[in-house]
Symmetry: C2
Subunit: 227 residues, 2 copies
């Protein structure tokens, strides 16, 4: 996502008196009144805490498969890495691989990771396609007796199925319902002039972190659509 | 603030079915449903951006007077320091002094700072008592022909008066109105069962950054009580 590309359109709408709030992806230099979405750094912190819990006291080597050129994935990786460095001295982040948001490439770089670090105990995949790719690599590995914990991101069907099958240990569910609901509340406030001025400062918080829920085998069934 | 001290009381209330949200200061390990307040790290980032603007292209040496043992002040200082390191290569944070949240001590450590770094161009005070102390030190300095930009925190009368007098260049106003208003909205949602379950997960965002407004001579009069 290019955080600047929509600025002219957003600003034109706001200048015409049309309330605009952003959700999921921000345009911080636009005139939008608020942003509601996941704080990606803290999502990475949560993933690190969960990984530490999965590896118990033992700790060990862990890796990351991510999209290193995209800001949101960079932030997730930083939150994961910095938390492990600061909070969990028994764990080490040995490598960060570029899975390019692609299932096949993520599978390949995971196999590389497992070859280069035969004692690796966990992999954090910062997005869903990557997570399924890592899962496929680990299925092959398990046939050889390996045991690697995977933490993934989002709640695509492929990810949920792998949680049900015990391949992926946990995934980070974003607060998409909250994004929609509170965006609408904010627009309602703007439209009915109960959030202060339409021009200039309003009484809306500029930044709302809609948070992360950790999905595991225990609660995975609540995340399938229609349930 | 001890972020753990109130946990038993908060948890007891929540377990009895009483909705609890936190504002201004969080208790992250309690059962409170949400927190609404200032992201102190980003407040420090904003202070750094404002300091860079005040020093224009010239840059130079800047210092901090803070309360180094309190988490919120530590975060403000980190946001200030890291932003200057990353974004403003012409500026250097030469020292961080402990003003202990006291006006006299903050005045003394500011005098020390100006003695040790005679070319110092700016001081960020992370809280209001400290800011007024720094201001008093700079008044004495100005009599000797010095010119130092001060950025302070909060909108106490002493701070606002010093902005009107041109001693303090800017102060960071917290979104206190937003904290109160949106806390009430969240409690309303919990009480009327429109935010999901009272027990377990709700549809409230756990963390709301109510943001910072930069107050300068241009808008200071809006911040006096009763206006």
């Amino acid at each position: 996502m290019d955080p600047e590309a929509l600025n002219p359109v957003i600003d034109k709408a706001v200048e015409s008196g049309i309330p605009v709030v952003m959700f999921d992806a921000d345009a911080p230099n636009s005139k939008a009144y608020a942003f509601l979405g996941t704080n990606n750094y803290y999502a990475g912190v949560t993933a690190a805490d969960k990984m530490a819990e999965l590896l118990n006291e033992a700790g060990g080597e862990v890796g990351v498969v991510t999209h290193p050129n995209q800001l949101n994935h960079k932030e997730r990786t930083e939150g994961f890495r910095e938390t492990i460095e600061k909070e969990y001295p028994k764990m080490t982040v040995v490598d960060v691989k570029d899975g390019r948001g692609d299932q096949m490439i993520s599978k390949e770089v995971s196999e590389e990771l497992m070859r280069e670090y035969p004692n690796i105990k966990g992999i954090f995949a910062s997005e869903a396609n990557g997570g399924v790719g890592v899962g496929k690599a680990v299925i092959d590995q398990q046939k050889k007796g390996g045991d690697i914990h995977i933490i993934s991101f989002d709640t695509d069907k492929g990810t949920l199925d792998m949680i049900n099958d015990g391949i992926i240990s946990a995934t980070m569910a974003q607060g998409t319902w909250k994004m929609g609901y509170w965006s609408l509340q904010f627009l309602f406030h703007l439209q009915h002039d109960i959030a202060g001025e339409l021009e200039g400062e309003t009484n809306l918080p500029r930044y709302v972190d809609t948070g992360i829920t950790v999905v595991t085998k225990d609660n995975v069934n609540e995340y399938y659509p229609g349930e």
